[in-house]
Symmetry: C2
Subunit: 473 residues, 2 copies
């Protein structure tokens, strides 16, 4: 069996203000409308013989991930391993190998695909994967080395050693983390170095054996967290207390750099880690003056700028080499040469506990989304969108009452002792202290405007009685 | 009698996106929270012996002007002349002179103050006005010449001629419009030239006589539009058809450049026409790196920038000499050296009939304001604020129904045949076709959220039956 393993973590703070902890890089909408996560799934599903995919992600992203996958309409089955806390790649890979080995057999070939980069050429990718699969079946732990196109100092490099038999692959001589510029230039000149793409291919059994030899404490804690969970029931939520005991190390460091059975396959496909706004900008076709635009603009003497705006018009005059990224609650204006420093901004915002460091105004929930449209003195207005068939928890608020007005679709509402249907252009009122529940019984999205009124309007004023998504303590 | 005449027109398109046709330069909030119009009234009211002020403005700005004046709490009486269409300064000055001459006598001294500039030093201003009043009583038409501090090519200049008796004033030798840079430099070097501030002082009778001599067609059309209006009832709305016949010329061109009885008084007070974002930026104290900030920012290696934001955080990285002005629906990013070109942007927006060229999301009405919070498919959400004692028209919509939720204050509502009080945290529903009226009977502002629902939500779907502000056809 051949099983792609999609790993989606990574905040991508260099892509703030669009990428935030609650909607990180794999989930942000790219200029073509897709997301890195969607593209990763489609890429995996296009490979020969793929019938199911295993996704390892944080439990906070489970519903978001399912929604993303659903949008693609990709006809594959899904397994999920949900991490209770963010850990590095070694525990995630270990969990994937142990889970897949147990469920599908230790000779299952796993293809590990991080969901935070882009690959241009599916055909070359497929060929590289086929070659890697062959090597994996012969006992190799396979890495994919991307031909470097610039002396990048932010990536890891792989040095190729001797050729492996009649294949195009090489043994790995060594891994090097983020070299300085001079060293990076020498690497490129030597022709022996490639970028470490973070993708891997191996059998479950070989990875388990390697972990047992080189990182037994990672394997042990992962095995313990999987004990007692039923692999037939998906998603599998890893036990928080035990998983947190696993060392926070990368699979490169835990296994790849130590095993002598590691191969590198030249990855001859376009590869970008979309590591900054400059990288993302390259996905947009430039106009005659080198401007790349994603949104509504009016430009006078503007050159070589990237401008992205969700809903506002951006007027630019006399600008050169700037990045302008506009969102409903935060605006970024940066010189192109400083794209890496967006990370520093996010760090400072986190130190200040600024809401825009982690949260968007649109918040994703298992049942849909809500967006805060306005907050004022003792009132808050939200647009609430509920997916067909979905339902919020049966809940109650102590300090606020809520007016609900349906503007699209149909709502089924529990309001105290009553149960009623609220149609488009109808409203209902939920007094403070009333148990209530909102459900979308229809087949169209339900869009509702909620006006909250009360002395205290924090999200933590909620008592949940019943919930379809396991959120009742 | 001494009567300040405040003239407030002028779109101030160089201050877009804050200044727009529906809320032009005199009305925009400056960094200190005041407006040019408020400051002009306060400046006028602080002069010796001022008990009333005459305001000449477009009828569209009447209620807005009254609100602005009220905020200042300035204890002066008001006369208003409302222009039905935008004309240049000659018809406005003529109307002021004719109206004041008729109502208060032709020896009334008028001080014309455009509401689109700032004056730093009230004491020096008062002294200059006192000197001008003296000259006006002696038959002079007096201009105020500002000492030039740079070879500005965007202003008009006044060349001083011979000294007038024992005063500090001079006869005007000539007026020059917008010289080129070389000429402007020569003017400054000569010591004989000052900037034309646009302020004037004269008696009503002398101005009427000058108009009769040099611009009789302006005077005639203004006299005709005033005929039949009762000067005791304010505001006086000038007749549109007749007023539109008046030549569209400036008072400088119509009278000042032609009369031999024109004096110039050196205006030794700080004067700024707030003609661009660069000029407005100077009102904000710079930090150690030369940045002037009006809003929430997070800056890394940013120098000499002006950043203004109403509600969004602005992150800047590696910027120098930029203007960033952020509003709810439009963003401006411009190099400081290109501040004048904002005008070109507005021109292009107008050609495209882009809403942000003329309108803000917050719309001022005689009874208060409304702000569109969100528009979606078949729904629109507004925050409506009604001033104490104010009332919207009795009206009806054919195509939309409205949900009203009071979040602050108290509403008196006519809804079809019923009349009811709607308290904070209560709601009411107005079906399409129902006659309705909203009133704030209280002493606090009424804040209401309106959710409109319907196939057509244009502002023109309104039938007015009764209106306190003369808006019933």
């Amino acid at each position: 069996m051949f099983l792609p393993v999609i790993m989606s973590g990574g905040a991508g703070s260099r892509l703030w203000p669009v990428s935030r902890e609650t909607l990180p890089k794999p989930f942000i909408e790219l200029p073509d409308g897709g997301t890195l996560l969607q593209k990763t799934l489609q890429r995996a599903a296009s490979l020969d013989g793929v019938e199911r995919v295993l996704t390892v992600t944080n439990k906070e992203y489970y519903f978001l991930t399912r929604d993303e996958y659903q949008v693609t309409g990709t006809p594959v089955a899904h397994d999920y391993l949900l991490e209770p806390v963010g850990r590095n790649t070694a525990p995630a890979v270990a969990a994937a190998a142990r889970y897949a080995g147990g469920k599908y057999g230790e000779d299952t070939v796993l293809l590990v695909l991080p969901a935070d980069h882009l690959i241009g050429n599916q055909e070359t990718f497929s060929k590289a994967v086929a070659a890697a699969t062959e090597l994996a079946r012969n006992g190799w732990l396979v890495t994919f080395g991307v031909e470097p196109v610039r002396p990048e100092t932010g990536y890891g490099y792989i040095e190729s050693g001797e050729k492996i038999g009649k294949t195009d692959a090489h043994k790995v001589a060594r891994f090097v983390e983020k070299p300085d510029l001079q060293t990076a230039k020498e690497y490129i000149a030597s022709g022996r170095f490639t970028w470490n793409s973070g993708m891997f291919c191996f059998t479950a059994g070989n990875m388990i054996a390697a972990l047992r030899e080189f990182a037994p404490e990672v394997l042990t804690s992962v095995e313990q967290t999987l004990q007692g969970s039923n692999p037939e029931i998906t998603p599998v939520v890893l036990n928080e207390e035990i998983f947190a005991l696993s060392p926070d190390i990368s699979i490169d460091y835990a296994v790849m750099e130590r095993s002598s059975k590691v191969a590198v396959i030249g990855a001859d496909f376009d590869w970008s880690d979309i590591g900054s706004w400059s990288a993302l900008a390259e996905l947009v076709k430039p106009d005659a003056r080198g401007n790349r635009i994603n949104g509504e603009t009016l430009l006078v003497d503007v050159d070589n700028c990237y401008i992205q705006s969700e809903s506002r018009i951006v007027a630019g005059i006399g600008l050169d080499n700037l990045l302008v990224v506009d969102t409903p609650d935060a605006l970024l204006v940066a010189h192109q040469s400083r794209a890496q420093d967006v990370k520093a901004v996010v760090k400072q915002l986190k130190l200040k506990s600024h809401a825009t460091a982690n949260y968007h105004r649109k918040v994703h929930r298992p049942w849909g989304t809500y967006t805060v449209l306005e907050e004022g003195n003792n009132f808050k207005i939200k647009r609430i969108e509920v997916k067909p068939g979905a339902s919020l928890s049966l809940q109650m608020h102590h300090h606020r009452s809520e007016h609900w007005i349906v503007v699209s679709g149909m709502a089924k509402v529990v309001n105290g002792e009553r149960e009623l249907l609220v149609n488009k252009n109808e409203s209902t009122y939920i007094p403070a202290g009333h148990k209530h529940r909102l459900e979308n019984p229809g087949v169209l999205d339900l869009v509702m405007i909620e006006v909250q009124s009360g002395e205290y309007l924090g999200e933590d004023d909620i008592v949940r009685f019943q919930d379809n998504y396991g959120r009742v303590p």
